[in-house]
Point group: D2
Chain length 243, copies 4
Amino acid sequence: MRVVVWNENRHEKLNENVASIYPEGIHGAIKSFLQTNDVEVRTATLDDENHGLSEELLKETDVLIWWGHLAHDEVNDNIVQLVHENVLNGMGLIVLHSGHFSKIFKKLMGTSCDLKWREANEKERIWVMDPTHPIAEGVGEYFELQEEEMYGEHFDIPTPDELIFVSWFEGGEVFRSGCTFKRGHGKVFYFRPGHEAYPTYYDKNVQQVIKNAVKWAKPVNRPLATYGNAKPLEKLDEVKENE
Amino acid sequence: MRVVVWNENRHEKLNENVASIYPEGIHGAIKSFLQTNDVEVRTATLDDENHGLSEELLKETDVLIWWGHLAHDEVNDNIVQLVHENVLNGMGLIVLHSGHFSKIFKKLMGTSCDLKWREANEKERIWVMDPTHPIAEGVGEYFELQEEEMYGEHFDIPTPDELIFVSWFEGGEVFRSGCTFKRGHGKVFYFRPGHEAYPTYYDKNVQQVIKNAVKWAKPVNRPLATYGNAKPLEKLDEVKENE
Amino acid sequence: MRVVVWNENRHEKLNENVASIYPEGIHGAIKSFLQTNDVEVRTATLDDENHGLSEELLKETDVLIWWGHLAHDEVNDNIVQLVHENVLNGMGLIVLHSGHFSKIFKKLMGTSCDLKWREANEKERIWVMDPTHPIAEGVGEYFELQEEEMYGEHFDIPTPDELIFVSWFEGGEVFRSGCTFKRGHGKVFYFRPGHEAYPTYYDKNVQQVIKNAVKWAKPVNRPLATYGNAKPLEKLDEVKENE
Amino acid sequence: MRVVVWNENRHEKLNENVASIYPEGIHGAIKSFLQTNDVEVRTATLDDENHGLSEELLKETDVLIWWGHLAHDEVNDNIVQLVHENVLNGMGLIVLHSGHFSKIFKKLMGTSCDLKWREANEKERIWVMDPTHPIAEGVGEYFELQEEEMYGEHFDIPTPDELIFVSWFEGGEVFRSGCTFKRGHGKVFYFRPGHEAYPTYYDKNVQQVIKNAVKWAKPVNRPLATYGNAKPLEKLDEVKENE
């Protein structure tokens, strides 16, 4: 299993508080809990050449994790196109938190992906809606983050294929915090938590969910569909065919 | 109810056979069965100025119907953007047949929208999968088109919100022929039949489905969602908020 | 349009507070806002003969509304069977609040329909998840009920076909408060609010939702599916057929 | 992983042709390709004591496979209740072919589960609708069974959570042949092929799908939800609470 964690990595450079929470970057924090004997994790960031994402790397990537916020617009459209093609060809994609506004997520969703938000250090309680789902494995009925940014409905996404988590916020909002989507041969998971100013990616439940999601999102081993002009599989009425 | 039927209208100009089947264009044929006292229908075509689609027209359009095939690439990206915004703001969209490859449908789906196809005058039998759906009103368990182009799976679309029709083809394929999708505040219906070389839009069942779809796709009367920074609706823990 | 409002009508007889809120019974309150020139509303209650639900009445009923709580077990299994058959044949069903534990809802869902609950006069804020849905017509981004019983997740229902509302509760829970389900040829809507000790059914938003749901749930006009042994629609390979 | 294959095992006793195709019974044939070092397979049949299904056995079963046809009515309601409870508590259930009419499947679906059928040795071509799904792993775009019983739409089931396969039949019908459903904490997969008079369970693709489904259906490791009266997780407004 080969995973790439992509991070914008700008807050970490611009903001001391964020840098102190994530001294190795958000990508580094995520890598550190994902890496195991079975999961090889590489990282890539916006300021790397080609954002660290080459055609070769993506081709051999099972699951790509995406965190961005300040600089969605700086992501090159060709790279977005490349990631998009790889998702349609089977690569899993996990979009975290403010990645809801990334070019790749908006392109895959076809909607604005807009939402309500508020930074007020408020409590988030994440409830499991789908107790059958492997992404909820090892997680209780709910888990809490003592301080997070609020994201509130309406979240402008297509109807998710599966709704796994819904968040309750202290300030009165709710949010579909864990959603799956199928696109082409690829699986996409959106997971809400992870504002840069909080130590969210050190939370054991958040880590568990991301680890589960990586397993869930990996491609299935089967041939890609063929498209275009197709010969009939059954004998057609010849008269009509030659009409 | 205000409907706009948009048609590429190129086959009708380039091909005598198509012109003889649809002397008023495919848009004219669709308009003629949709227009009633309650439904005002206008038409617009690719070669009209701005493809016949202005900001003002779309703002007052309840449902837009889209047929295109040869010249998807000639549709101006700004117009696609405009249609997209209107769908997210509530305008219904009905995409017909080869419109699966239109820019607007691909943008709303987020996938390639590719499929298998074959022109062999073969029989299509369209089965109702969802007997509860208003788009299937007045339609029997199935209906047949004696000659149509084949479209076959895999059809590269996101999981439809609702699967209303599945086609059986003489040559051995199946196809999800009637699919609904929600995008933003708008409803989208894809309906497969309608190759330009066959008199499909004169078929009573096809007409019934399109009439039903127009009713189904019309916007609901409610305020648009608000997005962005949001004040709390409940009193927050002040200590934490001012942290 | 013919609607039947079925109510257990026991709290109203046993509890003065409930009787003072709903002097005509919950069924009477619902009837009073549903009845119009276009909608004929009848009521039926548990203690009526055959619970007020005959084969003839149900056959000519477009939508049945169901409120029950104390005496689910007293509902005769034959009547449950009759309602079930009518739903499969196209009759709409709207299940309110504590009706989640009714025999008919459990039979249609196939699950326990269990949930968390608390009576603590707490605030409920009902958020619209699906801004395209006709059941949300005329409703803002959210509406509030100042005092309601809490229902909390996990709500043991199958994945809803559509998730229209999610509730936020003061005590920290969330709940899928507006859910649609298709069963056979019939449409089912579950709507959470309506504890007997609060004047919930006088709330304008609650009334609007129920009025919308009645319109949405009405049967579509088409023949019922036929089941059982079926002759081939295409010529089969005779050798194989007679094998 | 512990799997139980339950088979009615009556055709095998009553019909020489079936007995010659499945000398160890359909359960034996399924066991023989499922059993591996990682998967322990037991079998149980209708005529075993308590149909071979005890409380203890089911408690330690990860996935139950169900084949029945002639004698659905002979299955004891208490056993059906027991299987139902185990599914809601997380046990996976795979229902094969004529099991669509089993008590347990109808109870979990809440519908009639009726369909069209025909025994005419006709060809079935099973198309993959969902190329992302682990149940389709190792399977091409479609696979064929040269002779099978026809099942045709409308199939009276709730909207599946996922539609993985759709069948094309020589005689002109289509069918949703691979469907997933979530019920409580358990996952359910319905798979169409497997008429007793054909050697379907020796087909490599059919075997692959069932092997995949067993992996997919296994319970996730997490606590069961708690239901009933619940203390608030947040401080409530005391005045209102004591009202």
